[in-house]
């Protein structure tokens, strides 16, 4: 699937995906709206414009670009984008986090939800997984790309840095990791909780091809993600430092760690949906 959506159409889909996120989290009064809203533009661009992928899901994905969500708590936006790009019926979004659902709190392969290739939620594991998938693509001479998404708080996990060391050393150059740099985590700002320092300098020093991107501007997200096809297969893995606002698109949720993992009440939902107007349909 790779359709010729315009930037304006992609903006509309991202707004609809944000509506899905707040409605899903409201529906079960549980989940993580902040990071989900911040990453809506990125995931929409990836699934509707950038990746070569087939919603007729096949685990091995041979000949397809693959995506791994390492910060699994932003499952609402992942599920919305998967459903709206054709992996499963959008009506299933209403089952999010409810008993007997395939849409578990954190994504899993265990319930057989199409589009999910790896369980995530326990942080720091997805970069290793993405490198592994990239290694098999290289072994099988499959020239498609592997994408992954990570939270910035997640970089506090040690496994990330094992993987950060490995990928450039072994020239894994069919890999594009993106870090959602929203500067927030559960207990406060990343600066307060455990400063990440100069991320650009760190990833460059490890040997990655580093790109900076405003993740909440579709006009910038699309061409930046398109550019990775040119930068791939040149001996270095690619790291996109994606600046976003946690909660982007809903004014009262924007920029605060307080909306990392709580659900809006009825009144807050009403306000949020009023700010997220589209000509698409809700589930």
């Amino acid at each position: 699937m790779k359709k010729e959506y315009s930037i304006e159409q992609l903006k509309g889909i991202a707004t609809q995906a944000r509506r899905d996120v707040v409605r899903m989290v409201h529906g079960c009064q549980s989940g993580h709206p902040g990071g989900s809203l911040g990453c809506a533009d990125f995931l929409t661009a990836l699934y509707f414009k950038i990746m070569n992928h087939n919603p007729e899901f096949n685990m091995d994905g041979i000949g397809e670009d693959l995506f791994f969500l390492s910060n699994g708590h932003i499952s609402p936006i992942f599920y919305s984008v998967l459903a709206r790009s054709g992996y499963f019926d959008i009506e299933e979004l209403k089952t999010f986090r409810k008993l007997n659902s395939r849409l578990q709190g954190h994504p899993t392969t265990h319930e057989g939800l199409p589009g999910v290739r790896m369980s995530s939620g326990s942080l720091g594991q997805g970069l290793s997984v993405a490198i592994g998938a990239a290694l098999t693509k290289r072994l099988k001479k499959d020239n498609s790309l592997v994408f992954s998404l990570h939270g910035d708080g997640e970089l506090q996990e040690g496994q990330i840095w094992e993987a950060a060391l490995f990928a450039p050393a072994k020239k894994i150059d069919n890999l594009v990791m993106t870090i959602d740099v929203n500067g927030q985590q559960i207990d406060g700002s990343t600066e307060q909780v455990l400063s990440l320092g100069d991320l650009e300098a760190k990833w460059k020093a490890f040997g990655w091809d580093v790109i900076n991107m405003n993740g909440n501007d579709m006009e910038e997200v699309v061409p930046t993600l398109q550019s990775v096809r040119e930068r791939a297969f040149k001996g270095k893995p690619i790291c996109i430092l994606m600046k976003t606002n946690m909660g982007h698109g809903v004014s009262f949720m924007t920029g605060s760690h307080k909306w990392h993992g709580i659900a809006p009440n009825d009144e807050q939902l009403h306000v949020a949906l009023n700010e997220l107007q589209t000509n698409l349909n809700d589930y």
Partner: protein, 321 residues
């Protein structure tokens, strides 16, 4: 009565190395990863034959497990290699989420398990790994007993779809099983028929059980030995059939008595056929430095202790009649 002899001693890890090479020849999807312990895991032959299918991860076991999980996507069959301690306890959450819960076709191959690692001491002698691995839903747990069985098990797990924990050891031990054996996952091996007591043994303790049975025979005690190489899934039928005949059981393993094979057997017996059981296992402690044989004696993981426990369990059997 089956008699077992041996003409040579070899390490089970070399059986793994030979099996890995064979599995690699049979299936081009077999790949190997190692965290800086190529020599210890006997992976050299595989690496020489298939250099492009080997990944040296460096001393980074968490990353190795995650990469192995990712490599399955696209059809590779990854075999990870490091010591048992670093294959399990160190990377438990990586295995739990990325391999077991994600049901990935990864073969976690663990050498230097248990006390027989020897002089390096307790930091490296994991005695909890069987318990850790068997608790994970969907995980197959295998602990073969000699070179030939380890080689056959390594080839068999490459042909099986799903996560596997394969545990083997460092020291040279008698080679007494059939070099051409067909390894069936989950199928116990009846080593020796007997009627007075069932001895269930795994790994290095199988040879000790054979030695014990021969001495018990001199006392007029006819011991049946079952080799449980697959701790999960457990061959419950084989165990129940045997205790139906003998009415008592000794379990023997190079592992903590908590969480090991013995506990799996106890769970089976308490819910089906209650018979007295004795444990030959480490008594909830860490190990220590020493020669492998010295450690096995000190911690009671030898033929002598199997004999003592067999006598004891036979005496307790009357209480259940």
């Amino acid at each position: 009565m089956a008699r077992y002899t041996y003409t040579e001693k070899k390490d089970t890890r070399s059986g793994f190395g030979a099996g890995l090479l064979e599995a690699g020849k049979k299936n081009e999807n077999v790949v190997a990863l190692c965290a800086d312990l190529v020599g210890s895991l006997k992976m050299e032959a595989f690496i020489k034959e298939f250099p492009e299918r080997f990944i040296q991860t460096g001393i980074a076991e968490a990353n190795m497990m995650g990469m192995a999980a990712g490599m399955t996507i696209g059809g590779a069959i990854p075999f990870t290699g490091t010591f048992a301690n670093f294959s399990t306890g160190r990377v438990y959450d990586q295995i739990r989420q990325s391999i077991a819960y994600s049901n990935k076709n990864v073969k976690i191959c663990a050498s230097h398990a248990g006390l027989t690692l020897g002089e390096d001491g307790a930091t490296h002698q994991i005695l909890e790994d069987i318990g850790l691995m068997k608790m994970l839903p969907g995980m197959t747990v295998i602990n073969p007993c000699d070179y030939n069985q380890t080689k056959a098990a390594t080839i068999a797990i490459a042909e099986y779809e799903g996560p596997v924990y394969l545990r083997f050891g460092r020291p040279v031990v008698p080679v007494f099983t059939d070099p051409d054996q067909k390894f069936e996952i989950g199928k116990a091996w009846l080593v020796r028929q007997g009627k007075d007591v069932t001895i269930i043994a795994t790994g290095h303790l199988v040879w000790e059980a054979i030695q014990a049975a021969e001495k018990l025979e001199e006392e007029g005690i006819d011991a049946e030995i079952i080799n449980i190489h697959t701790i999960k899934p457990l061959d419950e039928d084989a165990i129940l059939k045997s205790v139906g005949k003998t009415g008592c059981i000794v379990t023997a393993e190079e592992h903590n008595k908590i969480g090991g094979l013995g506990e799996s057997v106890a769970r089976l017996l308490t819910t089906t056929k209650l018979v007295p059981q004795e444990f030959v296992a480490v008594n909830d402690s860490f190990g220590e430095s020493g020669k492998p044989a010295e450690l096995m004696t000190k911690y009671g993981l030898d033929a002598e202790n199997i004999i003592l426990k067999a006598r004891k369990v036979i005496s307790r059997r009357t209480l259940f009649l």
